[in-house]
Point group: C4
Chain length 215, copies 4
């Protein structure tokens, strides 16, 4: 299996999943009160949509960063990638569940956000597995030096730890736990890529001249 087809398939799954997210915003037709009222009741759907959209977007960016550095695609990598995608495609459904149950509140709202956090945690397990796989000798185009491996582990697995915290915190406060998920998304959007992880990118963009203008 060449890396290109692994990327093409994964990109397809990410693209479909991120587009299906929007179906959770579907507006009921006439006969359910005024449109303004119908839309107002849906506020949790908007919040959950934006958070999930950027969460999937960031997984996609990080997935590319990892995979672009892969030298040989093995069966084990394919399996870990399928585990990642197994949870990615559930995100639209989990987002819809949060959108439906957050408004009414109570234990159901807490359970919905906890399960949403659990899906993101599962996704992180698949992602962490790919990261761990790629740290072994001979698997990447530009190897991560042994003394930088814990840095890399921390970077790729920190998200998973926060999602585990989200899952637990949801039982204390559903909105706070959901907000924490949003904070992870914002963090990953604006973080600077650690220098050690730029190796793969450097290899890849070596053909272009001059430095990029922003990080």
């Amino acid at each position: 299996m060449d890396r290109g087809r692994l990327e093409a398939f994964s990109d397809g799954v990410f693209a479909v999943a991120i587009t299906l997210l929007a179906l959770n915003l579907t507006v009921a037709g006439p006969g359910h009160g005024t449109l303004a009222h119908v839309l107002g009741r849906q506020w949790p759907a908007y919040v959950a949509y934006v958070i999930s959209f950027f969460t999937i977007g960031i997984i996609w960016v990080n997935h590319h960063m990892l995979v672009s550095n892969v030298r040989v695609v093995t069966r084990l990598l394919l399996f870990l990638n399928l585990v990642l995608l197994l949870f990615v495609v559930v995100i639209p459904v989990a987002t819809g569940m949060v959108a439906d149950y957050l408004g009414p509140g109570g234990f159901d709202a807490k359970l919905a956000v906890a399960l949403y956090g659990a899906v993101l945690t599962g996704m992180s397990v698949g992602f962490g597995g790919i990261a761990e796989w790629s740290l072994r000798e001979g698997r990447t185009l530009v190897p991560v030096p042994p003394d930088k491996r814990w840095n890399a582990r921390l970077r790729f697995m920190a998200g998973g730890l926060v999602y585990l915290v989200v899952t637990g915190c949801a039982f204390l406060s559903a909105p706070a736990a959901l907000g924490l998920t949003g904070v992870v998304a914002v963090y990953y959007i604006f973080e600077r890529t650690p220098a050690v992880l730029k190796a793969g990118q450097a290899a890849e963009t070596a053909g272009s001249t001059g430095p990029p203008q922003d990080g």
Copy 2:
């Protein structure tokens, strides 16, 4: 991140979004009156479908024109691209809302079209962000000369201004505002690409010989 994977992911999202549009044309099964009657009632769905289809189609064409000229993909560009897609994937849902509420008329029809215009405006903000990003020094394969930048800005941002007008006008007349969206689509289909913007295309198609036969 290489340009190719940014394009592949974005193309996937555009392709899924444009295909989901058609689901708004789904016909209710037997038991809702004659088929001719059911179809006749759906006329706003057909109008909204055609306008949204060509609107997404044109965004895709313009997106390619911008991105094909990008030299290095940065985090900021990825973020701006996600903002663009955040609104693109909502277009099918917004189109369905217009299809449902335009027929009955009244304030709900006006609000539906205004929100449809707002989604297209949001999309234009993401698109304008990418355009503005690409005007800075060193970011494009073929730079836009400083004295041509306002031309480029005008071209890529004019659509956004019209969509803002659509959003406002919807409260005066929903059908007129929707029609204005259609005019934007027709304009972008038939406009000739300004010479300054052909630079990227020229670089790209330099390998082929002889001039294209139409613009």
Copy 3:
């Protein structure tokens, strides 16, 4: 715009449309009679699914054959391609309508199949437009010689004429008209590619050695 991205976007749309087709086979959950009974009532859905699946499959094959020979992608070609896709993505919805209305019979069944034929005719107009566009001087890698153009026109436009006949015949007999659509699909699957149209393919596969083993 390079040919590669036109193909990637179109392939994405074809892939999503062909997959959405299967949603018309969705089985109602428990509580609607025995499963065998529920499935038995759905027979028109199975017939319509298989015909539409191979129809989209063949459009995809023929689309590739045309586009692989294109030298420069122009705005006009992009527009014609969007017209083709405008109808392609409606095929799943039209197939669902046929599946729902063919069983009950009567005028609604005839109207459903006629509209299905009309969608396929519209698709053929977009396809024929691309074919006609590609026959002009300087637009293809391997030009079609002037004396072979009518052959090429006939081949690419014959399907459209049959779909027009389907649209009309549906008012005489819905099942016969649907069957005629199936005949078109079977014909295009098994026809031998006319030699004149193999030019593009020949150019493309010139790197491989030895003849293919079947046509």
Copy 4:
């Protein structure tokens, strides 16, 4: 037709089908009992989802292994590939049917799993057709030697035989038959690729240096 576009289209279909699978996990909104109760009732949906997800994932991996070795894409190969995809896109619908009918049990549960097995068997027929096609002289980049052909046949067609057994066994025990499908998925995930089938991969990855670290 070049191999690349066959792969791109097939990857798109696999990606959409695997993502649509997750829609079977959609949770009913408030008003159907507590969320915990709603989720508990859906257990067959979770089991069926995981089995179908890895089943499609493995078809995708094996599809790539076969197609990456193809030298020339013929009409017959395109047709066989469409037969494969005809059944692949039905898997999400069949999975939903199993999810709905397995819980209530009785003859409907047996029929649902039998039909699920039949869809997988049909998919295997398309897959076996591609495998058989590729064994003929001159069709692959790295030919399979005549004395290894039965090995290859056995490997690619064994799954189909087991799915046929699933279809029959479903009438004895629906859960056991579904479990057997899961066993096939687990087997293909962890099997070592037979040496004879690595030829295509070897040809493909010849540019990279050093052995892969796992099989």
